[in-house]
């Protein structure tokens, strides 16, 4: 109980919200990292997945990539990148590691979504004289959108989680509050940081769930 009240008073004290080590600044860093990496990984993964899905090629790659992503520890990749020459370029090791781990769920879900589009619909579109690009844009992408969004949601939540690990290698973000708490042996601060990170992850998950529920195509309809 002492820890809970301690964490609560840590969180509610204004001194802990201000300054370069304050919660507000750490939260901004965390969100900035997440958004930048989500944009980068979408820019890399989605075009590849959509084209591969349209052509029906590279399925083994798309599926195996997420298995590989699970087996490789994020923390190990972060440290490995830090020790390479890239490590001297500020935030870049963190950004590269984050993007690498966000790509598999994006790629796999978008690919599976594209392959899951009813073949009769695609054939009808071709019969109407649509070109490949028109089929991709006008027929397959809208039908695959729920699965693509599911991939973006998984990637976003994972990015929030991985951005926390950046603190272990000296990066910014909310994880720094946890590591600072550990080095000060201050359990209330560790717990306060952990609560902030957990709440942020749940909020991101919840926001995406809400967007998916409000969109005309329900994710569940396509997945099943």
């Amino acid at each position: 109980m002492n820890v809970l009240t301690g964490s609560w008073s840590w969180l509610t004290s204004t001194a802990h919200w201000e300054g370069p080590d304050g919660i507000a600044h750490r939260l901004a860093q965390h969100l900035f990292l997440t958004v930048v990496c989500l944009a980068l990984s979408c820019a890399v993964a989605l075009p590849v997945a959509l084209v591969l899905g349209h052509l029906g090629k590279g399925g083994a790659l798309a599926v195996n990539l997420s298995n590989v992503g699970r087996a490789v520890p994020t923390f190990a990749v972060l440290v490995l990148l830090l020790l390479t020459p890239i490590g001297t370029y500020g935030q870049w090791p963190t950004i590269i590691a984050l993007v690498l781990f966000a790509i598999p769920p994006l790629l796999t879900n978008a690919y599976v979504g594209m392959r899951g589009v009813d073949h009769d619909v695609v054939r009808a579109a071709r019969g109407m004289g649509m070109t490949g690009a028109q089929q991709l844009r006008g027929v397959e992408l809208p039908l695959a959108l729920p699965m693509v969004l599911t991939g973006v949601r998984i990637a976003a939540v994972q990015l929030v989680a991985t951005a926390t690990l950046a603190a272990l290698v000296g990066g910014g973000g909310l994880g720094r509050i946890i590591t600072a708490g550990f080095s000060l042996a201050s359990t209330p601060e560790v717990v306060a940081g952990a609560v902030l990170v957990a709440v942020l992850a749940l909020l991101v998950e919840g926001a995406f769930a809400l967007v998916q529920r409000l969109s005309p195509h329900r994710a569940g309809d396509a997945a099943r």
Partner: protein, 226 residues
């Protein structure tokens, strides 16, 4: 120090044979700790997940809360999860095990439940018609048929757990993660690379082992294959 025998250590190379031979015991200890943490967590998770999945299957009202709570737990980032458990377990191996159990639960419960739900109603009725009681129906019909889906979940959970153990380094119980963490602070390249590669090797071997187990315990599945 820069003289002949320990050259690649002194030059701090990524791949270093001398490192492997001189730190053999440290590596072996870390691997054993890694395996223990993974095995204990997955074992406990299976023991908890099976009853939860059965409850969710047979009591309609239990399905929502069970799936909801496990999904929320899975969303919490690993570093935060370990940190949240700190007041309960302190800086101990139990903390890492508890965190890993909570993560594995989601994957296991979901997959076991999906497997149980996929058992055809006709099969269940046929078994009941042959005089199977509820317990025998569960153990002789439903659970065996749910095995492939459950094993798929177990494989994903195990591979994820192997990789997540490394985060346990924050409390000093991270198996190979400890070596990575220590190697980062001292810029010891050989140690970081060796420990990372061993992590991936353990994950792949564990996956293959479970695949073999699945092949052994589901003989009917391999006979059906064309």
């Amino acid at each position: 120090m820069t003289a002949a025998p320990h050259d690649c250590l002194a030059r701090n190379e990524w791949i270093c044979g001398t490192y492997l031979s001189t730190r053999r015991h440290i590596l072996a200890d870390a691997v054993v700790q890694h395996l223990q943490l993974t095995a204990v967590s997955i074992g406990i998770a299976v023991v908890i997940a099976v009853p939860l999945a059965l409850a969710a299957r047979h009591r309609r009202w239990a399905a929502g809360p069970v799936l909801g709570v496990t999904t929320v737990l899975y969303t919490i980032p690993s570093l935060a999860m370990f940190s949240l458990l700190l007041p309960v377990y302190g800086l101990s191996a139990s903390l890492v095990v508890a965190g890993l159990v909570l993560y594995s639960l989601t994957l296991l419960v979901r997959n076991i439940l999906a497997g149980l739900r996929a058992v055809p109603e006709e099969t269940r009725q046929a078994a009941r018609g042959m005089g199977y009681g509820p317990l025998r129906l569960l153990f002789a019909v439903e659970l065996p048929l749910a095995l492939p889906a459950a094993m798929a979940g177990l494989r994903i959970a195990t591979v994820s757990a192997v990789s997540l153990v490394t985060i346990g380094a924050i409390v000093g119980h991270g198996g190979l993660g400890n070596l990575i963490y220590a190697g980062m602070n001292t810029f010891f390249k050989a140690q970081v690379l060796t420990a990372s590669v061993l992590c991936v090797v353990i994950a792949v071997l564990a996956d293959l082992l479970l695949l073999g187990v699945q092949w052994l315990i589901t003989p009917w599945a391999r006979r059906q294959r064309p």
